[in-house]
């Protein structure tokens, strides 16, 4: 299949990470963290975790694409050499 699932996963969680993380930073003083999440700014911290996860997935997808292109090339050169 010519489409790597790690790409959309990486993109989605990176976007989530930036969005939720930034929201966490902007609402640093909000009393909702005391009310809900035991005083922890979970938006900021979990946003960072999602960003790292998303970026990791993107990195893997990129490495996969590079590897696929490389093996594609060797395939072609192999074929060419056989034809010749």
């Amino acid at each position: 299949m010519g489409f790597d699932i790690r790409l959309p996963i990486g993109m989605m969680f990176s976007v989530f990470g930036v969005l939720v993380g930034a929201y966490g930073a902007a609402t640093w003083d909000s009393e909702m963290y005391a009310r809900h999440s035991l005083g922890i700014n979970v938006n900021l911290w979990w946003g960072l975790v999602m960003l790292i996860f998303g970026a990791g997935m993107l990195l893997l997808a990129r490495r996969g694409a590079v590897a696929a292109r490389a093996s594609d090339k060797t395939d072609k050169t192999l074929k060419n050499s056989i034809v010749k």
């Binding site: 299949m1 699932i5 959309p8 996963i9 809900h36 999440s37 035991l38 938006n43 999602m50």
Partner: protein, 601 residues
């Protein structure tokens, strides 16, 4: 107690929907033949099919139902994973996949046709197709009801929108789209629920603190109280737990249900197909911590959110009284509830009372935890995870239905010689048709709860004997088509009769059992009755299949090559590092399993 999602929460949900649909659109151009649409061209790597194998099963029953069970029965609920799933997943990967994948069957019913005969396949295909669309409808109904109750969303809109989204991406990208989205949904559910378990546990003071707050030793041990049914909250004893749940029901589901097996059939090689359920087993083993613990915590924490207190040791009941402002259609009232689990209410908004005790709405345990611990921002993520679980279950049912309909019913009986493009078209038509029937079923479930209870009971009777048929089919070459067919019918009948003459304690004859007029035995609980029904059905099917097979002519060995253990070459795992081999994975899974059971003994 009702959350008010902010723009940030709606943005997260909107982004999720965009990605789900985007995957469908991107995959559309790869769908050229029916094999692309129904089998993903058998080209998916093992880690993807593995996570999809897990996620397709991760429907509403899992996230909501296991949380509810955790609140009700405690850590014993983990048996549904450690006894009721993992051993069967190992078995299907190591021993059954060679026949499913190796026979090149395109569906589970098609394997039955290759191994046995046309009538056995027809029976399995038709019952599976009907069950799939109806269970999809039941879970749609559950989702609509939940979103309405929790967020005040419109029931119709919730059902139609989610059905349309699932329709769009399965229609466009077929099985690949469903599988890819299942992987996305898997990560979303995991990442959405980890903070819930973390915050919940932190609030109650870790596992030790949770044990102290629950204050009931039987709810924090998985095996210790299984000696007698009266000692544990589930009302079952170890034998029916191991045989009924651990063997008959679990193997019947994980080893024969096309919904999950289809994911492994899409794998890119025999080795990948065999590794699919084994890879799925790793996260599956750890899921109790994500879905059961929040349910248990929900029963012992207070609703600090609404009353303005930060949570602490204040008894839950005293606080929840502050939160009472309710009425039909209004916010959920916690009055009379336990922890943050609200009571079930009747039409006038009054809590339901049975035998002097308030009936709790356990299905709300996990959703209420999201509302309790997630501030705006993370709340959107949590709601996404909840919706993802509903949608992955729905999409799994849809793709399984359209394959069985197109290959086993349409191509099998209605139009045998059409072009491949026609079957591809039919697959897409079946996607629309299947989802339309599911939506209709959701409304039937809303209007007539009883009809759905009866239907689900009938499905349970049909499913109970299945594993006996597959076990004999794969490992005993003497088993014949007549034997298998009679065994299945006999097993289903045995299940119905057993259920008809027994009753769980405290129930009246009807859907719960005893409908044949005489009650010869009373089980301590509904669960015990279900486990024993399964045991009787399986044994009957097993015996009848053997007897009838011995009386009928077997098929010649030449026809059974690749379909039966004795006549199939053992798969060899060449080109794999030692730690990637299926057998090694299985040993690692089993070891972790033993350790987990020992810790939570």
């Amino acid at each position: 107690m009702r959350p008010h999602p902010h723009w940030i929460d709606y943005s997260v949900i909107g982004i999720y929907f965009t990605f789900v649909l985007g995957i469908g659109f991107v995959l559309k151009k790869y769908m050229k033949t029916s094999a692309d649409f129904f089998l993903s061209g058998r080209s998916i790597p093992a880690w993807i099919t593995g996570l999809a194998f897990l996620s397709a099963n991760l429907g509403a029953q899992e996230v909501i139902g296991m949380g509810a069970s955790g609140a009700k029965y405690g850590i014993m609920t983990s048996h549904f994973y450690w006894v009721g799933a993992i051993p069967a997943m190992i078995f299907v990967g190591l021993f059954m996949m060679p026949f499913y994948y190796g026979s090149r069957a395109r569906s589970v019913p098609e394997y039955l046709k290759l191994r046995f005969d046309e009538k056995t396949r027809g029976l399995n295909a038709i019952s599976f197709a009907v069950m799939t669309v109806f269970s999809s409808g039941v879970s749609m109904y559950a989702m609509g009801k939940l979103l309405q109750l929790l967020l005040g969303w419109n029931f119709n809109a919730a059902i139609i929108v989610s059905a349309l989204i699932v329709l769009a991406y399965t229609f466009l990208g077929g099985l690949t789209s469903a599988i890819y989205n299942e992987v996305l949904q898997f990560f979303l559910i995991v990442i959405g629920f980890i903070p819930l378990t973390f915050l919940g546990l932190k609030d109650v003071g870790g596992w030790e603190g949770l044990k102290a707050r629950i204050g009931n030793d039987a709810m924090v041990h998985s095996w210790k109280y299984l000696g007698s049914p009266s000692a544990n909250p589930m009302g079952v004893e170890w034998f029916s737990m191991l045989m009924g749940l651990g063997f008959v029901l679990s193997f019947g589901y994980w080893c024969t249900d096309f919904l999950v097996v289809q994911r492994a059939m899409a794998a890119d090689s025999m080795t990948s197909a065999r590794r699919t359920p084994l890879i799925a087993a790793f996260p599956k083993m750890l899921f109790p911590f994500l879905v059961i613990l929040p349910g248990m915590i929900a029963g012992v924490v207070s609703a600090a959110t609404m009353s303005g207190h930060t949570s602490g040791g204040v008894p839950a009941k005293a606080e929840s009284e502050v939160v009472s402002q309710s009425g039909p259609g209004g916010a959920i009232s916690l009055e009379g509830g336990k922890g943050i689990i609200p009571p079930k209410v009747d039409e006038s908004g009054k809590p339901l009372v049975k035998d002097g005790k308030v009936v709790l709405d356990y299905d709300l345990a996990t959703p209420m935890m999201l509302v309790r611990y997630f501030p705006s921002g993370l709340l959107g993520l949590g709601l996404c995870a909840l919706m993802a679980s509903f949608m992955s279950g729905m999409a799994g049912n849809t793709t399984a239905f359209n394959s069985v309909w197109t290959y086993d019913i349409y191509q099998g009986y209605i139009n045998k010689t059409a072009s491949d493009q026609h079957y591809l078209w039919m697959g897409r038509a079946a996607t629309v048709f299947g989802l339309a029937v599911s939506v209709a079923a959701a409304y039937v479930a809303r209007q007539f709860n009883n009809i759905m209870d009866v239907l689900q009971l009938v499905f349970a009777f049909v499913n109970a004997p299945l594993f006996a048929t597959f076990l004999l089919g794969m490992f005993w070459k003497r088993a014949t088509g007549h034997g298998a067919f009679c065994g299945l019918l006999g097993g289903t009948a045995a299940a119905a009769v057993h259920h008809g003459i027994t009753l769980p304690m405290g129930s009246v004859p009807g859907v719960k059992g005893g409908f044949l007029g005489v009650v010869v035995h009373q089980y301590p609980s509904e669960m015990a009755q279900n486990f024993w029904t399964a045991i009787f059905a399986w044994t009957t099917c097993f015996t009848i299949t053997i007897l009838v097979s011995l009386l009928t002519t077997p098929r010649p060995d030449g026809e059974l090559k690749g379909l039966v253990y004795a006549l199939t070459d053992r798969p060899k795992d060449v080109d794999l590092a030692w730690y990637q081999k299926p057998a090694v994975l299985a040993v690692v899974v089993l070891t972790v399993l033993v350790v987990l059971n020992w810790i939570f003994w």
